[in-house]
């Protein structure tokens, strides 16, 4: 595959998505600790995201590559006013691949235009976080055996949650039925519903999910944050509706799995953790395999 950056999940076709997931499975089964020998990856984290950074660094290390970079711009030349452009141009000289996380939206795309090496977006503000989506897809495929014809429940903040938007876009290749469960204030934006309409995919909107959870193949939880409500009373009214408890899993399908992008606050009660249907910790481990696949593919090594 010709090298290209991964900035948005929409950069990948259905075929490319499936190829990455197959590769991830290959790395999970057969670790290849020499594949990135002699390769250097830069991780530029303009805001701290320890979880994502460690996952990337683990992926590179497990393939035998080397990593350097910075985390949190306060410790770097960025505070001296260096532009992204200059940093990217400079760092391009030192590595084979750049992983960037930046709070400004569109920053990763801009970086990919200025870089002379491929760029992976590890989150650009509220915009895109495509490696999260690919690890979500890998988790779904691994637990369900397929991505086709599934019933996916997206729960919580569907308005601002970039992970659910990207997941929706990616899953829309696979004849998915969607159930959107959120307070009115945090409904799925129209543009995504229009996208599904155009494809002729089914989706349903609900305020609550205790009654219907038995239909789900995947329950994807996100956090409902107080700050998102203009009226604090509205938050108080709904805050317990979007919390998953172990008792709610009783009559769910045997293949059903609970996913969450982590970190969790209180939207999944800890009593769910020991349930076999709780998959969010393994999901995080899958991130390493998915990122190995993405890196190896972008570098043209697979």
């Amino acid at each position: 595959m010709k090298y290209k950056s991964l900035v948005s999940i929409n950069d990948y076709s259905k075929k490319e998505i499936l190829r990455i997931l197959d590769l991830a499975a290959e790395f999970e089964e057969h670790p290849q600790p020499q594949l990135l020998n002699g390769k250097v990856v830069a991780t530029l984290f303009y805001e701290p995201s320890t979880r994502t950074r460690l996952s990337f660094e683990s992926a590179v290390n497990r393939l035998g590559g080397r990593v350097f970079g910075f985390t949190d711009s306060s410790s770097s030349s960025v505070t001296k006013g260096e532009t992204i452009k200059d940093t990217i141009k400079t760092v391009s000289n030192y590595c084979d691949l750049i992983v960037i996380r930046h709070p400004l939206e569109g920053s990763a795309l801009y970086a990919s235009e200025e870089a002379t090496v491929p760029v992976i977006n590890a989150g650009d503000g509220a915009n895109q976080h495509p490696t999260q989506t690919l690890l979500d897809l890998y988790s779904i495929k691994k637990t369900q055996g397929t991505l086709e014809d599934l019933n996916i429940f997206l729960v919580g903040d569907l308005k601002y949650g970039r992970t659910v938007h990207s997941l929706l876009m990616a899953m829309s290749h696979f004849n998915t039925t969607f159930n959107f469960i959120s307070p009115k204030e945090l409904n799925m934006p129209d543009e995504y519903k229009l996208h599904l309409d155009k494809l002729g995919l089914k989706y349903y909107e609900h305020l609550d999910f205790t009654e219907i959870i038995s239909r789900a193949d995947i329950v994807y939880m996100t956090r409902v944050q107080k700050e998102r409500f203009s009226d604090p009373m509205e938050y108080e009214k709904v805050k317990n509706v979007y919390v998953l408890k172990n008792s709610m899993l009783e009559n769910t399908k045997s293949n059903m799995k609970v996913l969450h992008p982590l970190p969790r606050v209180n939207e999944i009660h800890t009593d769910v953790d020991k349930n076999k249907k709780a998959y969010y910790f393994t999901q995080a481990l899958n991130g390493v395999y998915a990122r190995q696949a993405i890196i190896a593919s972008i570098l043209g090594l697979k």
Binding site: S8, T83, I84, K85, P103, L104, E105, G106, S107, L109, Y110, D124, G125, A126, N127, Q128, E191
Partner: protein, 153 residues
């Protein structure tokens, strides 16, 4: 150009360019995009003229100056119905309609304060979405800027 009474509410010119069918509320934006405020040529304009299509329209007449397609397409963003007439000896010799390009580079501002283009020196780039009302989708942050929030740089 048909010489109707309405057209004559701003006096005719001998040689130059007439830009017609500008939404009245965007007249001053058009002036600024075309840089007319820095011109030495004689310019007359009329605004709040009645228009069947636009409600209230504006018209600009610039003497001794021919604009090119590119200029016109730049104003298409805020004056999609605009017509440009090249006048020689009081006669229209050429006519152009504004045509919105598929991509707008460097004219408009992204509505998203967290967009990279509003924080670093990056030239803006938008995909033009035109169903009924024109909207711009930012190439960088993917947010949509609608007509109401459109700001010209």
């Amino acid at each position: 150009m048909k010489k109707e009474g309405k057209q004559l509410s701003v006096s005719a010119i001998k040689n130059g360019t007439v830009i017609d069918h500008i939404p009245a509320k965007n007249l001053f934006k058009v002036i600024s995009i075309l840089g007319l405020d820095k011109f030495d040529n004689q310019i007359t304009f009329g605004t709040n003229l009645d228009s069947k299509k636009l409600g209230k329209k504006a018209i600009i007449k610039v003497t001794e100056k021919s604009f090119i397609d590119d200029d016109l397409n730049r104003i298409a963003l805020i004056a999609p119905e605009a017509k440009l007439n090249i006048i020689k000896d009081y006669e229209v010799v050429e006519k152009y309609s504004a045509k919105l390009p598929e991509e707008i580079i460097g004219i408009a501002k992204c509505v998203n304060p967290k967009c990279i283009t509003n924080n670093e020196n990056v030239t803006t780039r938008f995909l033009v979405l035109s169903d009924n009302n024109i909207a711009l989708k930012c190439h960088y942050c993917e947010k949509i800027t609608d007509q109401e929030h459109m700001e010209i740089q």
